[in-house]
């Protein structure tokens, strides 16, 4: 039995017919065709599917879609300004060399956004704690940590 739910997605009100068994990730990728959010494991261990729900970073692969009712969901596609300008975190990831294969990137940026929205001056340990659930195999995390520091410091890179 399909059900209709309503939630805010990247600042737009969306109504979607969903199967109650679906995850938020499934709806984003397969129903709404927002494929920027990635599935790296499907069980909440890699963080590639991280999105922001009501200000908190969440593994969308574990998040039941019915829970999204009435909430505000932000995905990587919702980060750029209306003008098309990159978000400071996106810019910093580009400028600091924090992207290699890119599969973890969306989730990494969303985790970082949840952090710097709450904590304007995170320490290196804050950043490491924050992205400890976001696995990256390419970068060794160093330039990712640098990028988050830069973005948190005002985004001028």
């Amino acid at each position: 039995m399909k059900r209709e739910i309503t939630f805010k997605l990247n600042n737009e009100e969306r109504k979607v017919e969903v199967d109650p068994g679906w995850t938020l990730l499934y709806v984003l990728r397969e129903v709404l065709e927002l494929t920027g959010t990635k599935e790296g494991c499907g069980y909440g261990e890699c963080g590639a599917c991280t999105v922001i729900i009501d200000g908190r970073s969440v593994n969308s692969c574990l998040y039941p879609i019915l829970e999204a009712e009435g909430r505000a969901v932000t995905t990587i596609e919702g980060l750029r300004a209306a003008s098309g300008e990159l978000h400071p975190l996106q810019r910093a990831f580009v400028n600091e060399g924090a992207v290699q294969c890119g599969f973890c990137t969306a989730g990494m940026i969303m985790s970082a956004k949840a952090l710097i929205d709450e904590n304007e001056k995170p320490t290196e340990d804050d950043i490491k704690d924050n992205i400890a659930g976001n696995l990256c195999r390419c970068t060794g995390y160093v330039q990712i940590i640098d990028a988050i520091k830069t973005a948190a410091g005002g985004g001028r890179t």
């Binding site: 990728r29 990635k38 494991c41 980060l79 060399g97 992207v99 890119g102 490491k128 990256c136 940590i145």
Partner: protein, 766 residues
């Protein structure tokens, strides 16, 4: 080269904007109209007879379009370098990852449900899981038609006279070291989409890192499947990590082809994370016996290595890693006498593949750990022993490697300085320092008959440049580096360069993203093509402006006379003028670069690479004697890279390789029990997280390699090669225990500390 405008600069990665906005399309994101979803049923036993395999119920499930088994594989087709691997196994399974049936269905959910409906009965057979046991006379055979479990791949390298050198050595050490299976952990799992057109030509959407070789593999498969002479096109999607895991073709790809043939529809496979762990091929594990000696002055006299490699049930590139292991064994430091033998042995375990470093980390772990033991025996500081024997430019190594540029001593100096080696060494206070060096191919590696890469460059009317390269982008930044090289040669803005690198219908041949060869080989290829098109453009510009071509230059997209700066014309104008004149022409150029390196001869000697990359890693650790925990306090990774074409991307390779090496050293291991993987998930497999990042410095040492593009050498793999022995050596310096098998877990450290305490008590009591 001080007037370089693009090369040597921190240029941002060209695909980064797409990746940070979620716009890059990976195989996971691809859909083709009418596409079916595939699923694979794996055998449940490491070794068993298949008594019954009934797919009737699966076939009847609505939405299932095809179910295939070994009976549907034409002509007993097998793949892999030894052609010992059927895409679907019939009659018998030889490892827990054996594919025995596959389905294609209208959705992934129905495909998964169909697999549940396939009925299989097995008779379990005794398996063999220890390569040393499998080597013995009378051991059960993994492939019953073969006489022995030992592969017919005799790796043997002999240089000089090891026996004589042993007798003349003042100090000799011998020990055995073991390394484990580790896996690539690409964040994007494996997958493909196989599509046939009406003429039975295949298009494969793929994330291979060897497009030209995969194309060849599929062409062979199509011939076996009754489609001889058909075309194969490979389109690479954005690749979610490679690290060697995509250096060979896998069963699922052939299964996708068979299902697409049968259903006449596109068929997509995407591995789950669980499949990614158990059904892709890990780094080769190894057992290494090593002896090394030196004279009374600390000059190395010989190195003797015997190795046994667990081949698993089938054969992929893991079995050929000894060809790379030979490199550090023969040529890391100056060692006149060398003997190396390696045997690969079939077992009922998983089979291995290429992984970043390709055997080099395993060999270097043994060599560099043993070297510290030798230094202790000879009463030398380990740094001093290494420095006395360090490689230098101009050397011809025992394996006939011609060493051109070599910055090993400079790297060593950086490590010693930045780590405060002399201040920190031997304090014995639970903190210690260790170092290890590396040699790797830095100028291609002639492991196939061709080590080449092609480039085609095409100019349009507006001064924009299309560069079609064989080089694969797997996240390392080849696209950016190639664009930098072309921009530099043509004198145009890098934003005017478009790199096309993912379609075998358009891109020239390349042997693949392996052996740290892309910047060197694809870079030289791009350089050659760019020089050709530059000459053509200068010739017509000179004609138009009444100048000699030699007196012309291009900068910022403007052609000008170096004698008379007044004489200048935008490149775009020159191009249009030539195009729209009678008998007009457009500019293209192609260049195929195949480095002047050598295949090994029958004795496994020859100059494998045009140049060699060096590096030295140094580490300071703190060992907790209560828990056995090892904490990295400082990590220095100094690399001789020839020339850094893009320092930011290069540092990314060093950081990424380094942390992968730290995972190899301290935590990662695939736990197999009787052929079953016990920790195939990110919770139980300890891949490093951001919290495992130590204070780390990537140090770039430039040696200007004459054969490299703008002086560059390869850097893709070196970052993880010396990590494990550097850490093992630092642990020994800190607490006096030598860990000989990776990974160095707290349990192993604690056990070794306890054994040491008992031995020390025993000694003092005696």
């Amino acid at each position: 080269m001080s007037d370089l405008t693009t090369v040597g600069k921190k240029i941002t990665k060209r695909d980064a904007p797409l990746k940070v906005t979620g716009g890059a399309l990976y195989i996971q994101d691809m859909k083709i109209p009418g596409m079916l979803y595939g699923g694979i049923l794996y055998g449940q036993y490491a070794h068993a007879k298949i008594l019954k395999l009934d797919t009737t119920r699966a076939e009847r499930l609505p939405g299932v379009m095809a179910v295939i088994t070994a009976a549907d594989v034409p002509n007993d087709f097998r793949f892999g370098i030894m052609k010992d691997n059927p895409p679907l196994k019939g009659g018998r399974v030889r490892s827990t990852r054996d594919e025995i049936a596959a389905v294609a269905a209208v959705s992934a959910e129905i495909a998964a449900a169909a697999l549940e409906l396939i009925e299989v009965e097995y008779e379990e057979l005794p398996g063999i899981f220890d390569p040393l046991e499998a080597m013995k006379e009378g051991a059960p055979l993994v492939h019953e038609e073969m006489k022995s479990n030992i592969l017919k791949m005799p790796w043997k390298l002999v240089c000089g006279d090891v026996e004589a050198a042993k007798k003349e050595s003042a100090y000799v050490v011998s020990d055995t070291f073991r390394t484990q299976w580790v896996t690539h952990c690409c964040l994007g799992t494996s997958g493909c989409i196989a599509v046939f057109d009406t003429g039975n030509n295949l298009t494969m959407y793929s994330n291979t890192q060897i497009p030209s070789l995969a194309q060849n593999d599929y062409i062979e498969a199509l011939a076996a499947f009754g489609l001889k002479g058909r075309r194969v096109r490979i389109i690479q999607c954005t690749i979610g990590g490679g690290f060697g895991s995509k250096l060979d073709t896998y069963a699922y790809e052939y299964i996708a082809i068979l299902l697409a043939m049968k259903t006449r529809k596109p068929v997509k496979f995407i591995f789950s994370r669980e499949e990614e762990f158990f059904a892709t091929s890990p780094r080769q594990c190894s057992i290494t016996k090593i002896s090394q000696g030196c004279d009374k002055d600390g000059r190395l006299t010989f190195r003797e290595v015997e190795m046994v490699l667990d081949n698993g049930a089938y054969t992929s590139w893991g079995a050929t890693t000894p060809s790379v292991m030979m490199m550090p064994i023969s040529s890391l430091y100056k060692v006149p006498n060398i003997k190396y033998v390696a045997q690969c042995v079939y077992t009922n375990n998983t089979y291995s593949q290429a992984m970043r470093g390709y055997g080099n980390p395993q060999a270097t772990f043994a060599i560099e750990s043993s070297l510290d033991q030798l230094a202790e025996k000879a009463g030398l500081d380990p740094y001093e022993l290494r420095f006395r024997n360090a490689n230098e430019p101009g050397e011809l190594t025992p394996q006939n490697f011609q060493i051109t540029s070599c910055g090993m001593k400079e790297c060593m100096a950086e490590v010693v300085k930045r780590l405060d080696w002399k201040g920190k060494k031997g304090n014995g206070n639970g903190r210690g320092v260790g170092m290890a060096s590396l040699i790797h191919v830095g100028g291609g590696a002639r492991v196939y008959k061709s080590d080449g890469c092609g480039t085609i460059i095409k100019m349009d009317d507006r001064g924009k440049v299309d560069v079609m390269t064989g080089a694969t982008e797997i996240g390392q930044g080849s696209e950016t580096v190639i664009a930098q090289i072309v921009a530099e040669v043509l004198g145009v803005n890098i934003d005017d360069i478009n790199v096309i690198n993912n379609d075998t219908d358009v891109c020239p041949w390349d042997v693949g993203a392996h052996a740290s060869r892309t910047t060197f080989v694809a870079g030289n290829s791009a350089l050659g093509a760019a020089q050709k098109i530059r000459e053509k453009m200068l010739a017509v510009a000179a004609q138009n402006m009444g100048e000699a071509p030699a007196s012309m230059d291009i900068k910022n997209g403007v052609v000008f006379s170096m004698q008379d700066k007044e004489k200048s014309m935008p490149l775009s104008k020159v191009l249009r003028k030539v195009h729209y004149s009678p008998g007009g022409k457009m500019f293209t150029a192609e260049h195929f670069y195949d480095p002047p390196n050598e295949n090994f001869n029958k004795e496994f000697k020859g100059n494998l690479s045009v140049s060699y990359a060096y590096g030295v890693h140094g580490v300071e650790v703190e060992v907790d004697r209560e828990t056995g925990q090892v904490k990295i306090l400082n990590y220095i990774a100094a690399h001789d890279v020839g020339k850094a074409i893009n320092p930011m991307l290069l540092e990314g390779q060093i950081y990424g390789g380094g942390l992968m090496g730290i995972g190899y050293a301290l935590g990662e291991t695939m736990i197999y029990e009787k052929g079953h993987l016990k920790n195939g998930n990110f919770l139980d497999y300890k891949m490093p997280t951001a919290k495992d990042v130590p204070p780390v410095q990537a140090v770039i040492v430039e040696t200007d390699e004459q054969a490299g593009p703008f002086g560059a050498k390869g850097i893709g793999e070196p970052g993880l090669v010396p990590t494990a022995p550097a850490i093992a050596n630092a642990i020994y310096d800190a607490v006096g225990v030598r860990i000989r098998d990776l990974p160095i877990t707290p349990e192993k450290v604690l056990r070794a500390l306890q054994e040491k305490a008992q031995a020390d008590t025993g000694r003092s009591g005696a």
